[in-house]
């Protein structure tokens, strides 16, 4: 219930800020940017396998597009749906553009290291390495599987919300997420004995 109320408050706050942006209020632009920048940046960062410079560039592109088109936003859908759609399209366009020149490298699976044998500092280091492995594995997914995964885990969107962002059915979202998870589970199977084993 609290979550629902919080989400509603957030939507109402977004709506007010968007309205101010549509009036040309530069402070509102900044507020909107500060509210959403980390999520947009994280999606771009994970979409492009940890390339921070590219993620920054994508984030800037997304917000520039957003601010220059904010007058077109009709409030027929959630603002965040539109924002994530812009983010998705910008990432996929960039991926398409880049694919002509530099394909993303395939990730090599790291050899398994049993967690129990590591001292604390090394365990932390191991966690970071695992996070890197997960990020690299995500980057090898097909773009449409990758973006569904990122919207699910960074934005915590429901299947219905993801379907709206990607302009497809809930069934398609379910299918893409399932394929994405299956592939990741296969590729990251060597990590099962490590820190995220649920203990």
């Amino acid at each position: 219930m609290e979550l629902t109320v919080a989400a509603t408050d957030e939507r109402q706050a977004d709506a007010r800020v968007v309205e101010s942006c549509q009036q040309g209020d530069r402070e509102a632009f900044r507020l909107l940017f500060e509210t959403h920048k980390d999520k947009v940046y994280s999606i771009a960062l994970y979409f492009f396998g940890g390339d921070a410079a590219l993620a920054s560039d994508i984030t800037q592109q997304v917000f520039l597009k957003l601010f220059t088109r904010i007058g077109q936003f009709r409030r027929q859908s959630e603002f965040t749906t539109w924002l994530y759609r812009l983010t998705t399209n910008t990432c996929i366009d960039e991926q398409r553009r880049r694919r002509r020149f530099t394909p993303l490298p395939e990730t090599q699976a790291a050899p398994p290291v049993p967690h129990a044998t590591l001292p604390a500092a090394e365990a932390r280091f191991m966690q970071l390495e695992i996070a890197d492995s997960v990020r690299d594995a995500i980057a090898t997914l097909k773009p449409k599987l990758r973006i569904a995964i990122l919207l699910k885990y960074f934005e915590e969107l429901s299947y219905e919300e993801i379907a709206e962002v990607l302009d497809c059915s809930k069934g398609t979202v379910a299918s893409r997420l399932h394929r994405g998870h299956s592939i990741l589970a296969e590729r990251l199977g060597h990590l099962r004995a490590n820190v995220f084993s649920g203990d």
């Binding site: 009036q23 040309g24 209020d25 530069r26 402070e27 940017f33 500060e34 920048k37 980390d38 999520k39 940046y41 994280s42 994970y46 921070a52 920054s56 984030t59 800037q60 520039l64 597009k65 601010f67 220059t68 088109r69 007058g71 077109q72 936003f73 009709r74 539109w82 399209n89 910008t90 366009d93 695992i130 996070a131 997960v134 990020r135 449409k144 699910k152 885990y153 960074f154 429901s158 299947y159 302009d167 497809c168 059915s169 809930k170 069934g171 398609t172 379910a174 299918s175 997420l177 399932h178 998870h181 299956s182 990741l184 589970a185 990251l188 199977g189 990590l191 995220f196 084993s197 649920g198």
Partner: protein
């Protein structure tokens, strides 16, 4: 596990709590009894645990400054283009004051924004001025921008930027240099050695191949429209659905958030290939919904044909072309239905509303065999073209079409 259907494909949605209660209970019961599905579930759960441990990363701290500078630049460019590329004192002062970082919470800035918006330019919020100075500058802007907008609209009207990619593209028979402006009503043409790119307002771009003739019909906040008389264009649009349209001699392509190629031959026939998202290819009384990977033809006097996936069999494609445009009739339809694969349910679903009687029943039977209808969608309802049932069935089949 004889007699029970495995639940592998539902496992991710089950773990995410996205299944309906009854379906979720069925999956849970099945997992209790089926070791294979349980092993699969453990694998999926492992993937979910890894992903749930990902944490959002903070964007670099100085990013806003770059965005603000780019926004100011964009606004300045808008303003300068409004002055018909002849900077005035007002322009220079506006640029200088903005660069100097002037003004505060200004209501006057809002007024200025309103003025800029009213003449179709992007507003800039100015901050921290003293009231007297602000009032003086506002007056200057009102006069300057008003005059500039009058001059701009009188001289140019709304227009899009065109960039030369190769050869010598022309606008209304006049060759452009590296760039040009395409105004409402004007034709952009490329000869056999020319290519060009059009910036579609601020919602995307269109590339024009050699031998193309295209006209800007309309551009306003709620609608941007081109007319493709002949040749080929590639559109990449980021706008909300149904904001960008392309008229062809026999149908209109309505963008639903997508990328596509559209080609018109000398007879006015068109073919649409969608590479991302969806495009609606439509006339007044017929609509074809074309997803990524699919194509659709159209002919003058007929309108949009039935959409199809281009990797279908040759016999399927030839028969569909005969059925749509060459009076192929029942025999062509029979071959289309017989040759259809699961993915070709895209074509069969569209055919339901384009045939009647026994033919519709035949299409239904094949469709139901390839993609059984979901609960609540009945044979009788589909044969009566119940919109809700057709829509529900389509939603289910989209997983096949977009896979």
């Amino acid at each position: 596990m004889f007699g029970q259907q495995h639940v592998r494909k539902q496992l991710t949605a089950y773990a995410h709590g996205e299944l309906a209660a009854a379906e979720s209970a069925r999956v849970a019961a099945h997992l209790g009894a089926c070791a294979r599905c349980r092993a699969e579930f453990e694998k999926i759960a492992h993937g979910i645990r890894l992903l749930e441990n990902l944490s959002p990363q903070a964007a670099p701290v100085n990013m806003w400054e770059s965005i603000e500078a780019a926004l100011a630049e964009a606004s300045l460019e808008s303003f300068q283009s409004g002055q018909a590329e002849r900077p005035s004192q007002g322009d220079a002062r506006e640029a200088d004051t903005r660069r100097a970082g002037l003004p505060g919470n200004l209501r006057p800035g809002d007024l200025l924004s309103g003025v800029l918006r009213s003449i179709g330019l992007r507003p800039v919020r100015l901050m921290g001025w003293r009231p007297a100075l602000a009032a003086g500058l506002i007056l200057l802007f009102v006069l300057g921008a008003g005059g500039a907008s009058w001059f701009y609209l009188r001289e140019t009207g709304a227009s899009w930027e065109v960039a030369r990619l190769a050869g010598a593209p022309s606008i209304d028979a006049g060759r452009i240099g590296q760039t040009g402006r395409l105004r409402i009503g004007e034709w952009l043409e490329t000869d056999a050695g020319s290519r060009a790119q059009i910036k579609v307002a601020d919602i995307g771009q269109v590339e024009i191949d050699p031998g193309t003739r295209i006209r800007l019909v309309e551009t306003r906040e709620t609608e941007h429209r081109l007319e493709l008389a002949r040749g080929r264009m590639h559109a990449n649009i980021y706008a909300p659905p149904r904001l960008f349209f392309v008229d062809t001699p026999s149908a209109v392509a309505a963008d639903l958030g997508c990328a596509y190629t559209l080609e018109v031959d000398d007879e006015g026939s068109s073919v649409l290939h969608v590479t991302a998202g969806w495009v609606a290819f439509e006339t007044k009384d017929r609509e074809s919904m074309v997803p990524a990977g699919a194509a659709c033809r159209t002919q003058p006097g007929v309108g949009p044909g039935t959409p199809y996936f281009e990797d279908a069999s040759k016999l399927f494609l030839d028969s569909l072309a005969k059925f749509d445009f060459a009076g192929g009739g029942r025999e062509a339809l029979r071959l289309v239905v017989a040759e259809a694969r699961a993915r070709d349910t895209l074509t069969l679903w569209h055919l339901l509303a384009r045939v009647a009687g026994e033919e519709r029943a035949g299409v239904y039977e094949r469709l139901a065999a390839l993609a059984p209808p979901p609960a609540g969608v009945t044979r009788d309802g589909v044969l009566l073209l119940d919109p809700a049932m057709l829509s529900a069935w389509k939603a289910q089949m989209e997983a096949l079409w977009l896979a």
